[in-house]
């Protein structure tokens, strides 16, 4: 029977790290075939950098990543005040709401998402789903 390891990365673990350090921290965990569950989310530019660094790391063993972000500030039913609070927290305090899921593509086949939920489809676990 296969197993899927999940590593929870708390917000304070990312505080004080620069973009490259954050990305390496995520990729180092994923390369150990673990699923990262990160409190908060990366900045847009960091997400693009994460993809670029992932591509640099592709090898016979490491096929890449699957990523999804649940962002409560992006939900259509969230109030103006909620979205405003989230924007202020992000721009002034650097605090990002939400949850980021990053998994190795060799285990996570697909992540389907909408702003409020995600569905994770895996490979090599049980019957493959």
């Amino acid at each position: 029977m296969s197993k899927l390891m999940i590593q929870y990365v708390m917000r304070h673990e990312m505080e004080g790290l620069n973009s490259e350090q954050k990305i390496h921290k995520i990729l180092d965990i994923v390369k150990e075939d673990k699923l990262v569950l990160m409190e908060g989310k990366l900045k847009q530019a960091e997400e693009a950098e994460l993809i670029a660094f992932t591509m640099q790391s592709i090898s016979k063993k490491f096929k890449g990543i699957e990523i999804a972000v649940i962002d409560p500030s992006q939900t259509t039913d969230s109030s103006f005040l909620t979205r405003l609070k989230s924007k202020v927290a992000t721009s002034v305090l650097g605090i990002t709401s939400g949850l980021t899921v990053v998994g190795p593509a060799s285990i996570v086949r697909e992540i389907k998402q909408d702003p409020q939920k995600i569905q994770l489809f895996t490979l090599n676990i049980g019957r493959g789903k």
């Binding site: 993809i51 640099q56 972000v69 593509a105």
Partner: protein
């Protein structure tokens, strides 16, 4: 006072000799959305030649391709000229074994995989150079992916104008509404780059974008 005059002079001379900026219109999106098919459609319509090869196999375009000085004309007589930049599809994973299913030999598949990873990195690097972007999405697949959100978010953060194109409307599974719902802040034009459906609408939308 003298330094102020010098600065003013530099500004005037700089303005006189500054070359007219070449507008770069990028085609971005995930692999297999039909970017090169659309690039070929635009090039055939306005300069009578194709831009690149297309294939059902993902990552057919693995290098940035540029076709310079394409001028398109509106029905009302307006003209715009741009350099069309076709980019490799942006993905978060590339597995050379996927290419073996299309009959490639292992060595070829590995080479294609290596080129594809470089292509993705180049596409991301080029984001900064774009003046406007057409995001080409396959309307028959789920558009709400993190790759699409990341591409659009990065363009938004750079204040680069974006036109969303829902390609492959000729397919039975095509669903433009799904793309409109995923990215409600953008106008979505449903087209078929393959058979030319609504391509005029896309050109009209381009005139508003550029």
């Amino acid at each position: 006072m003298i330094s102020l005059l010098r600065a003013q002079l530099r500004k005037i001379l700089g303005g006189l000799f500054k070359k007219k900026k070449q507008v770069k219109l990028g085609l971005y999106g995930p692999p297999n959305g039909g970017k090169t098919t659309l690039a070929n459609r635009i090039c055939m319509d306005w300069i009578g030649e194709e831009m690149g090869s297309t294939s059902n196999m993902a990552h057919e375009t693995r290098e940035i391709q540029i076709k310079e000085q394409i001028t398109i004309k509106s029905k009302t007589g307006k003209e715009i000229t741009f350099n069309l930049v076709d980019t490799p599809g942006i993905a978060t994973k590339i597995d050379y074994e996927e290419f073996l299913k299309y009959g490639l030999k292992e060595k070829e598949a590995k080479e294609r995989s290596k080129e594809a990873t470089k292509g993705v990195i180049d596409s991301i690097k080029w984001l900064d150079d774009m003046d406007a972007v057409i995001i080409v999405l396959d309307s028959s697949v789920d558009p709400y992916t993190q790759v699409n959100i990341t591409i659009i978010g990065n363009l938004q953060a750079r204040n680069i104008p974006v036109l969303l194109v829902a390609n492959k409307v000729d397919l039975k599974k095509a669903n433009i509404k799904r793309i409109e719902a995923a990215f409600p802040q953008y106008e979505v034009v449903g087209i078929s780059a393959k058979d030319g459906t609504n391509i005029d609408k896309m050109y009209e939308a381009l005139f508003e974008l550029l």
